[in-house]
């Protein structure tokens, strides 16, 4: 369970490695919000190495989405495998987020 970040001008890319759950969602939130405070506007979270996400992890994404929009930015999610898509569909979060296939798919028009 770790997060790898890359920053390129106002683009922040976070690669999630392992689960995003109640035990580490605060870390992800803090990390992203710090970058947003320092000017990141386009935030891309890449789950291609991600494990499962629990309700707290989903809640962290909802909360980040709101905060980033409030700052005039945008959050995109990429690389969700079939398990994670199931989770977004069950919770209807696929109506709140646009889910991109790969990281480069997410960068088109970002």
């Amino acid at each position: 369970m770790s997060f790898a970040i890359e920053r390129d001008d106002d683009l922040l890319t976070v690669a999630v490695d392992g689960q995003l759950v109640v035990g580490n969602r605060q870390e992800l939130k803090q990390l992203v919000l710090d970058e947003v405070e320092q000017g990141a506007k386009r935030v891309l979270i890449d789950f291609s190495n991600g494990g499962y996400i629990d309700s707290s992890g989903l809640g962290a994404l909802v909360s980040l989405n709101k905060r980033i929009r409030e700052q005039g930015g945008e959050l995109r999610l990429a690389g969700l495998n079939e398990d994670l898509r199931t989770l977004f569909e069950l919770t209807r979060l696929d109506t709140l987020f646009h889910l991109y296939g790969t990281r480069s798919d997410a960068l088109v028009g970002f």
Partner: protein, 149 residues
């Protein structure tokens, strides 16, 4: 390692495990991993081992810690898991007074649920498991301990 024994009592033994943890979010993962590994060893489908079991169990333990025990580290959470021919049965016990699980499940029917940060845990347990039951405990337990030496 588990020992391999046959059941002389007529079918009640099964792969199982029990864990008592402090109300500390950092304790969740090892229990979830242990239960998931039991399920893998028992031949549950990969998706169930990757998604249904770990997510539902994480929700149940997180709620037990944060809601049931109010995050009080002095209170503990007990998890017992058991797999038999019918399937997996996991029980998560906290020291709280319980709650109305049907209202908690119905949070998903309220306006604005999708935009909320919280309120998805119980919903997900129902979505990912075949059955979810909440009960308040009563009764008396006698515990016998015999040391090996």
């Amino acid at each position: 390692m588990r020992s391999l024994v046959s059941d002389p009592g007529g079918g009640s033994l099964a792969p199982c495990g029990e864990w008592t943890i402090a109300s500390d979010i950092g304790e969740i993962d090892r229990v979830v991993l242990a239960v998931t590994t039991l399920c893998e060893a028992a031949g549950f489908p990969p998706k169930v081992c990757r998604l249904n079991v770990p997510v539902a169990l994480t929700e149940a333990i997180a709620n037990a810690i944060e809601r049931g025990n109010g995050g009080d580290a002095a209170r503990s959470v007990h998890v017992s898991a058991r797999i038999d021919d019918a399937g997996l049965c996991v029980e998560v016990t906290d020291e709280g007074t319980g709650f109305d699980i049907h209202s908690a499940r119905a949070l998903s029917e309220a306006d604005g649920w999708v935009e909320r940060e919280d309120g998805r845990g119980v919903f997900l347990m129902y979505a990912l498991m075949d059955s979810v039951e909440s009960s308040c405990n009563a009764g008396h337990t006698i515990r016998l301990v015999l040391r090996r030496s």
